[in-house]
Symmetry: C2
Subunit: 389 residues, 2 copies
């Protein structure tokens, strides 16, 4: 019998299960290499992957746990000759089988659960940003995967030799997934304009920021492609916002408490759109880990917090401004035609020096994407590697 | 002198300022109708709207507060003959003017700050869903605005007589802003298919859910347009997830604590994409208000929480399942060709009865958008009304 699994590929570790014993609340499983883990009955029942509980074509459940009942075993669990675990449920005598590799990959007893902490960087980190061959990324899945792992983990990467044509940045982004359209369009240009609707399209310096922090959903990925650069100045400056947050948490706990709880208002007002959002500049997830950085000083809207908090919020924001501006945290990048920078727009602060728009042309074209598409693409590329394509 | 403002329109209340006095930390302003409010120096300095501090074309700041210094006044504030407030800053003697209506609209001293609490609904709420004329919404801005206010506040609306052509739903969504593209495309179909990649495209019943809770960014708006319906069954069932959360917070505080802090894993696996995300089913913002509901029982991935939390999470999820299934909370909707339902996909749980795909055709076409585009569009429509167009 082939044990059903909810996934499309195999699992990294597949020692056979050699023992399984049930109590009234869980099953203890031991694999051939001696590792043991407990799995609650309710968890096992929930994860039955048989064709009756999980529609094979969609890999989505049709089974729902009965809110009024707790699953319990009918007799002791069985270990199959294949190394899989099989249990029978009291009541309906439904039978569930679990692949040894699947159980191993999803064990939660004593294993670390939750997201990995990201490895952050600063101006002294060598070989920044990680740089890849854009031509290869466009046509080769192994090159694509190597780049995407760096984009996920470092959050800041460069491709060289992306053809400096107007659609080049879109072709690269489409290697990951759908482009996120905004009021700026699918693809947008960064160049000095006579009637700019954003400071990005002036020749002004831009302090460290993320894009579109004025939205409820700030895009997760940003792509910037240099099509032409003959201007003087305008050097890019990149800072790991997660490092900024870690420094603030360690050295400035009082400011950090404010920056993670008090909303700061941001606005992006133009003739045809008016985006405003209020959220703390350092957003934590439900477990207190940093989920995203929202920082864009020239998009400040009037702060709207309790009267007694106003000066505390300004003091905390000043502290964050000072840390984000620290030279030792910054990686500097000069633009050459064909360069494409891709970065996590909810983690990395980017900025630029002023440039001389009279002395030459500077033409960047960009677009946005989402982190979730990056994660999905990497899983699909990993599947292809695991299955030998 | 015209007092500069950072906005494109006037303000709802514009009594003149009649008195202003400064202390070492704030300015107390009194308007002609007797209302008073204090504004901190740092807040006032930050919000200077002069052409030097705020680029008039972009309405974005070029001024940055000096992280090392606190702004203080040079002398007492002045009230202009126009009713505006004018202050001069110590040090650089920069002069800032504030329109009386702008200050009034942005006062934070004693005024309620933060988002309004949403008004929730259940199955006994009359006239649900609020229903509008789709033809009018497509061509008339007043009709558009009326619909969008309901979509923002009630979170669940219906349009009638949207032309049942394949692009109809996209035309309606484009009245708000960009469509959110996903792996399902820009526009997607809900109909029974021979090889479905999602349970939505079977004729199975669907329990209450939001769409794409497997993503880090679950779309904020969903549009579903009925192009044809001759099938039997498949009645829609809509529940206000914010009401579900409020009931759980009031009646089941222990479960609510689990549902707002313990992540539940969701997965949407297919041959070409693999989306997974773990987040509590009730997401709170930094101030503890409910920001969004993430619920989709048939997209359960293996729960990955601490061993000692597993049974608590299942018990809390069972409780939420039971509340979401309560008949007294549900609004039922029958589909007619031309109907379009638009709802907040991060608030409203939708589901359907099973239908008989052999007995007729049921063809819905849908797309996604974002809440932030709705808010922006409403502000622009309000501006046009305020300026008499």
């Amino acid at each position: 019998m082939v044990t059903p699994t909810p996934d499309f590929v195999g699992y990294p570790e597949t020692p056979a299960i050699v023992a399984a014993t049930g109590t009234d609340r869980w099953v203890t499983v031991t694999w051939a290499d001696g590792l043991s883990a407990r799995f609650h009955h309710v968890w096992l029942r929930d994860n039955c992957a048989c064709a009756e509980c999980l529609l094979p074509l969609t890999k989505e459940q049709t089974f729902e746990l009965d809110p009024a009942a707790s699953p319990s075993l009918d007799g002791q669990p069985i270990v199959e000759a294949t190394g899989a675990l099989v249990v029978t449920w009291a009541g309906d005598r439904h039978r569930s089988a679990y692949h040894q590799g699947w159980l191993r990959a999803h064990r939660y007893d004593g294993a670390a659960v939750g997201a990995r902490a990201p490895v952050t960087w600063d101006g002294s980190t060598p070989d920044m940003p990680p740089t890849f061959d854009g031509t290869a990324v466009l046509r080769d899945d192994d090159a694509l995967r190597e780049w995407l792992v760096a984009l996920r983990d470092v959050g800041f990467t460069r491709l060289r030799d992306v053809p400096p044509r107007p659609g080049g940045v879109g072709e690269v982004a489409a290697r990951i997934g759908p482009i996120r359209e905004t009021n700026f369009g699918l693809l947008w240009d960064v160049r000095s304009e006579p009637e700019p609707v954003t400071n990005a399209n002036t020749d002004l310096a831009l302090p460290p920021h993320v894009d579109l922090c004025t939205r409820e959903y700030q895009p997760g990925l940003q792509f910037l492609h240099c099509i032409r650069n003959t201007a003087t100045g305008g050097r890019g400056r990149y800072v790991d916002g997660f490092r900024v947050a870690a420094i603030l948490a360690r050295d400035e706990p009082e400011h950090y408490a404010v920056l993670t709880t008090q909303p700061m208002a941001r606005a992006n007002r133009s003739r045809d759109s008016d985006y405003r959002w209020s959220v703390p500049p350092i957003v934590l997830d439900a477990r207190g880990a940093v989920a995203e950085i929202r920082w864009g000083n020239w998009l400040r809207a009037p702060l709207a917090v309790e009267f007694d908090q106003v000066e505390r919020v300004y003091a905390a924001a000043a502290c964050m401004t000072a840390v984000a501006a620290r030279d030792d945290l910054a990686v500097h990048v000069d633009w050459q035609a064909g360069d494409l920078l891709a970065f996590d727009n909810r983690r990395i602060l980017h900025g630029r020096d002023t440039f001389d728009s009279a002395g030459g042309q500077r033409f960047l074209r960009g677009c946005y994407g989402e982190r979730e598409e990056l994660h999905s693409r990497l899983r699909i590329l990993d599947r292809r590697i695991a299955s030998g394509r």
